[in-house]
């Protein structure tokens, strides 16, 4: 059969299987009814802190803002028992500033690249952006897939481009952003997850979204992607990581995502090596809840540095 876009779609869907939207939503609703208390809550909150890719992706970012972000990443709160975050996530031009602050600390520098967030530029430009970020010291690269190619059924092109970025990353880990809101359906999200994983290396990630569109990470699209990761792992033995990004603002949400991980992928993914939260305001809410568990008192937002809500 000639590989037309239509047959490519049919083959890929047949290969990875379809997803029922309502069923996924029912499944994840159960995660939200889990009740996490006491020590298990603190464990979950601290783990979430350690998984955070503390992110700033704004046109107005400055080296000064990056410095502040890095200090927060290294020492999220004055309680020394609180772990560092996993990474700081910045634009390519900020990589060297970030590296200067967190280099050698264990906190990674992640750079978005490939004409983030739209990806709408020449492939060779995207690749050179990746190489530049890595050369500047990025430990991790967050790329966006070619959604236009995906939606028109050019799956080989999507996958080949990801493979090219993998190569351009060299030693840096890659996170492949599917931009779920533009893929729209869970079928597409599952298909795109498999396309990406097919050319990723162990330790690379797939990621929900850029945070720059209306719909970002939800328990449901997270579930579709971690089920894809699970199936891929059971089939190939290759463990791919997962990064929901955007929209996770509260500690309660973060715990629900972690419950989904625990019950879908199991203990081996309850680590920042395999699971990350792409977030900015989430961190302070995690810290507030940790303090609340410790002291028994609800905390005011301005007790925490870099808080957006200072009212």
């Amino acid at each position: 059969m000639p590989q037309t876009p239509h047959t490519a779609h049919a083959r890929l869907l047949d290969e990875v299987g379809s997803v029922d939207q309502v069923g996924v939503e029912e499944r994840v609703a159960k995660f939200a009814t889990r009740s996490i208390k006491k020590a298990s809550k603190v464990w979950g909150l601290r783990t979430a802190v350690s998984m955070t890719d503390l992110t700033t992706l704004e046109g107005k970012d400055t080296p000064g803002k990056i410095e502040s972000l890095c200090r927060k990443a290294l020492r999220p709160h004055d309680d020394p028992d609180i772990p560092t975050v996993a990474a700081v996530c910045v634009y390519p031009s900020m990589v060297r500033h970030a590296k200067a602050h967190v280099g050698g600390s264990g906190v990674k520098v992640a750079s978005v690249a490939t004409a983030f967030p739209s990806g709408q530029t020449h492939y060779r430009t995207r690749l050179s952006e990746v190489r530049g970020a890595v050369a500047d010291g990025a430990d991790e690269v967050d790329m966006v897939i070619n959604r236009g190619a995906f939606l028109s059924g050019e799956y080989s092109r999507v996958q080949d481009e990801i493979a090219g970025v993998v190569e351009a990353c060299g030693p840096a880990a890659l996170k492949v952003i599917l931009e779920v809101s533009e893929l729209e359906t869970f079928d597409n999200i599952r298909m795109a997850s498999f396309l990406a994983m097919g050319v990723l290396r162990p330790g690379d990630f797939i990621k929900t979204s850029t945070g720059k569109t209306a719909l970002n990470a939800t328990l449901a699209n997270n579930q579709v992607m971690i089920e894809a990761i699970r199936d891929f792992f059971l089939d190939t033995g290759i463990a791919i990581g997962m990064k929901p990004a955007g929209g996770i603002k509260t500690a309660k949400q973060a715990l629900q995502f972690l419950i989904a991980v625990k019950e879908t992928l199991g203990d081996a993914w309850l680590t920042r090596r395999r699971y990350r939260f792409g977030a900015s305001s989430l961190l302070n809410d995690l810290l507030r809840q940790i303090e609340k568990e410790k002291t028994g008192a609800y905390q005011a937002p301005y007790y925490f540095s870099d808080a957006a809500e200072s009212y």
């Binding site: 939207q21 309502v22 069923g23 939503e25 729209e184 359906t185």
Partner: protein, 292 residues
């Protein structure tokens, strides 16, 4: 019709029962003698046994899926065609009813009502679904609808009075929805039902959809009650028979309904309608998620 030639011996008919689209004797080879209203010998009628009932149920079960799959429009047309044929041959049926004691006027009116009743149910065949089924506004993200389905093989036990209108009134709503029927004709006046069988055979109704047995109620009612493959029984029955039917039905959770009209009530419009159709359909509710 020309008068019979003088001295000619008329050819008598051997009445047979109509099962699976064929005319058969009882497997037991038993018959019972039926006399007309004057007391003169009329014919030997098959005295069907429980094995005949079993065979008829097999025939009805075999015909069931095909009949149920017919479009309601097609079932309506077949019932209407049957009415056309009965109208054309009503003289023969009226004559047979009169011969067994009906007053001519009553018999003629009964036939007219019977034909009209068939047309009534022919019209229902493609309409009851919209009244009995529904789309249900559930609170979750599901499309949910209820449709009817035929129950399967239904036993019909006809009244003695009126023997033919009673039988027609009970058959029609049951087959209109796609059930198939094993009927027991009036024990006292079985012959019009045999004639009806002959007319069914030349109608468009597929063989096995309606099977008409003759015989003794006391012999056959217990088997109607207990035969597990009969999913429902529709009976014009007295108190003792009702109890027997219900007792036997319990073993297979069979649906039991009674035709409660008596005498003149059978002629009334109140002896027809949506009710008897509803009594012999199952309701099936299907859920499906609404997503993308």
């Amino acid at each position: 019709m020309s008068p019979p030639s003088p001295g000619r011996i008329p050819v008598t008919k051997t009445p047979k029962v109509y099962v699976g689209g064929a005319f058969v004797r009882s497997e037991s080879a038993r018959t019972f003698k039926v006399s007309d209203a004057t007391g003169a010998f009329f014919a030997n009628i098959p005295q069907c046994t429980r094995k005949d009932l079993r065979n008829a149920v097999e025939a009805a079960a075999k015909a069931g899926p095909g009949w149920a799959r017919r479009s309601p429009y097609n079932r309506a047309q077949i019932l209407y065609r049957l009415a056309e044929m009965l109208e054309a041959r009503s003289g023969e049926l009226v004559t047979s009813l009169v011969r067994f004691g009906a007053r001519e006027a009553d018999a003629a009116r009964g036939m007219a009502v019977g034909v009209d009743r068939l047309i009534h149910y022919a019209g229902w065949a493609d309409k009851y679904e919209q009244l009995l089924g529904s789309v249900n506004p559930v609170a979750s993200a599901h499309f949910n609808f209820t449709v009817t389905e035929p129950m399967g093989v239904v036993g019909v036990i006809a009244p003695d009075s009126p023997p033919l209108l009673g039988l027609l009134s009970m058959l029609a709503p049951v087959i209109a929805s796609g059930n198939t029927v094993v009927a027991l004709a009036s024990e006292k006046v079985p012959y019009p039902a045999i004639l009806l069988g002959e007319m069914l055979a030349t109608s468009d109704l597929p063989g096995g959809v309606v099977n008409i047995l003759t015989g003794f109620r006391r012999e056959l009612v217990p088997t109607f009650a207990t035969h597990a493959h009969l999913r429902a029984v529709y009976a014009a029955a007295g108190a003792d028979e009702r109890k027997a039917l219900r007792l036997g039905a319990a073993a297979s959770v069979k649906r039991v309904r009674f035709a409660d009209w008596s005498g003149k009530e059978w002629f009334s419009d109140s002896a027809q309608g949506l009710g008897p159709i509803r009594d012999f359909v199952e309701l099936k509710t299907t859920w499906h998620p609404i997503g993308s």
